[in-house]
């Protein structure tokens, strides 16, 4: 790392500034790193030889992914009966997994789009990997509705095309809205992610040491040369994509919730589902962002860019959205009682005392509602181990929540004669585990070949990126003196 001209490579005193002077604004990049240090550190992660841990991790995740693909192949070739689905539970792990994965994606878009519009500059350190996570999560999500229809070769029925009787799909159906919402979400996320990548691909192109790397990064960098006449349109396009993604991300999980809310099943037929689902999606998504970034930050020594303050802020978002979700849980019970509807009342009684009782007590109550409450305290928000523990709870809890909503609603509905339970088969379980393999394999490939932090965006938050910043000579004097940095 020859780029570190202003500060040594050692990383220390992460939280000192905030503790000593609570009102001082903590810099977003610590230890006075300069532009070339950022380039060096982030590109270095891509340019070196793949470390041994990467191969071990990739071997494991790709094997899990292969087994997941095998299960999908087995299910497609044999029939949807290899899953535990039956009457009355016709949607179980498949749709749970779909909602779980699509929800995870939402944090990436929230970070990249909504925090951009809100001028939250700390997003620059985490947006690239969060957006990548969005794409991979949506890929995992899209598998389930595709295959759960049974005859996947008929999946084109999802498209707005007339079938062989000339009948078109019903455009008033939430299931068709879902097709449009998810495919739009994926397409727009890809465009947004790639637009952000162009300047960084140009950096990798200009640093490439081999011909093949120069060619490949060069092709995808599209000939970017950092010209201000280009940046002018680039910034406008980026702003517009952020503005478009903001309502889009809110709409996607709202539409997913319509799949349930427009039915008449008790616990599904409720008007609070859209905001409740969106909050839950961001809640679960932030937990997954932290699950991936906390190890990546340690492995690639990115503590100066993804600082403890970033983790603190993400923990606050988890606390906020977790509180929304807890409020929604409580409100569901209140409305079930207040409505006077005996089926609703029974369904919620059944949720906490029925056959799936522990899903609620462990998943929804402990993992989702209680564990994030630790984040009221800065000591816990800034403790990596506590943060990781809570994130793991939330990851699990959000899956349980979707299972409770879906299977909890279906397994005991209006007629006691048609009650039944859902028991997953090994194919159910391994298909789900396999999607984790796909997700993590894709993420490992991403951090291996693409810059996991948006270099050009992180550089903007350095004080010397401001054209009205003190001249470089002055700056070096100030930095050398170790005093307050001129703004």
């Amino acid at each position: 790392m020859d780029g570190a001209t202003t500060a040594p490579d050692v990383i220390e005193g992460e939280e000192s500034a905030s503790v000593e002077r609570p009102l001082a604004r903590v810099p977003l990049v610590l230890n006075r790193r300069n532009f070339s240090w950022i380039t060096e550190r982030i590109s270095g992660a891509v340019e070196g030889v793949a470390p041994r841990w990467w191969w071990v991790a990739f071997a494991i995740t790709s094997m899990v992914a292969m087994f997941g693909l095998f299960c999908l192949g087995y299910q497609i070739s044999t029939g949807v009966g290899v899953w535990g689905l039956n009457h009355p539970v016709g949607w179980a792990w498949d749709i749970t997994n779909f909602v779980f994965w699509i929800g995870i994606g939402h944090a990436g878009t929230l970070i990249s789009a909504i925090l951009y519009l809100l001028r939250q500059k700390w997003r620059t350190s985490i947006n690239r990997s969060a957006e990548a996570m969005t794409l991979f999560a949506v890929i995992c999500a899209a598998i389930f509705p595709g295959v759960h229809v049974g005859r996947v070769w008929m999946a084109w029925f999802l498209a707005p095309l007339p079938n062989n009787y000339g009948i078109w799909p019903n455009f008033r159906s939430p299931l068709l809205w879902d097709v449009f919402a998810v495919s739009t979400y994926f397409s727009v996320s890809v465009l947004f992610w790639y637009t952000g990548l162009i300047p960084d691909l140009a950096t990798l192109r200009d640093r490439a040491t081999t011909k093949i790397k120069k060619l490949l990064y060069g092709i995808f960098a599209l000939g970017w040369r950092g010209s201000n006449r280009n940046w002018r349109h680039y910034e406008m396009a980026y702003l517009l994509l952020a503005g478009l993604s903001t309502p889009l991300v809110l709409s996607v999980h709202s539409v997913v919730s319509f799949d349930f809310a427009t039915s008449i099943v008790p616990t599904w037929h409720t008007t609070i589902f859209p905001p409740y689902f969106v909050a839950g999606a961001i809640f679960g998504g932030f937990a997954m962002v932290l699950t991936l970034l906390v190890p990546a930050r340690a492995i690639y020594k990115l503590q100066d860019i993804i600082t403890i303050q970033h983790i603190d802020k993400m923990a606050k978002v988890i606390l906020l959205t977790g509180s929304f979700v807890s409020y929604a849980y409580a409100m569901e019970f209140f409305v079930a009682w207040y409505s006077g509807n005996q089926y609703e009342k029974f369904a919620f009684f059944n949720r906490i005392f029925g056959p799936y009782w522990w899903y609620w007590w462990v998943g929804m109550l402990f993992c989702n509602a209680l564990s994030p409450q630790l984040f009221w305290f800065r000591r816990f928000r800034q403790n990596i181990y506590v943060v990781y523990f809570v994130c793991m709870c939330v990851n699990a809890g959000m899956w349980f929540e979707r299972f409770i909503i879906i299977v909890g609603g279906l397994h005991r509905d209006f007629l006691p004669s048609s009650w039944g339970l859902f028991i997953p088969t090994w194919v159910d379980i391994w298909t789900f585990v396999g999607t984790f393999g796909i997700f993590l394999s894709l993420f490992l490939i991403f951090i291996r070949y693409l810059p996991m932090i948006a270099m050009s965006e992180v550089k903007i938050v350095l004080p010397e990126a401001n054209p009205h910043h003190a001249s470089p000579e002055e700056h070096h004097l100030v930095a050398a003196g170790g005093g307050e940095r001129t703004q």
């Binding site: 809205w177 201000n228 940046w231 910034e235 396009a237 517009l240 709409s251 009205h468």
Partner: protein, 184 residues
Amino acid sequence: MRTPSGNKVYGMGAEFPSASALYEAAKRVRDAGFKRWDVHSPFPIHGMDAAMGLGKSWLSTFVLIGGITGLLTAVTLEFGPSWIIYPLVVHGKPVDWRTVPAFFPIMFELTVLFSAFTAFFSLLIMNGLPRWYHPVFNWHRFSRATNDGFFLIIEARDPRFTELEARELLEQSGGSHVTIIHED
């Protein structure tokens, strides 16, 4: 314009030590009346558009047109089949204006989809990308433009461009490594 050795000249470039130095230099080049010139930096510099005398980007206009196209596409796609080609009665609900809200989600999604694609492709077209070869890449120092270098390049096509004047201006503005850049 050609050098004595016969190479075609693309322009003259200079390197600047910081974003603020580049910003000040851009204002001087703008005030000197140059039209065909550009600055290159690893990140967009706040206020540089004004310093270069550039206005707001018109990309948003195309995106608006794209969004309207998306909305009209959705309206046609939904109402054509549902009301005209094969009216479908679902849940006994009427086939008329009273069910219009149920068509809104797809209208919204297609508006966003078309707008996003328009934004992306307008970005490429307005920037003349992809363009994998460009004369500025001939300058060996230029690879720092995507790392930590700040460059200002005046093109030889500019009517005011003379080698002497451009060199003097760039040096006076604080530029170093003032270099002639060849076309090929």
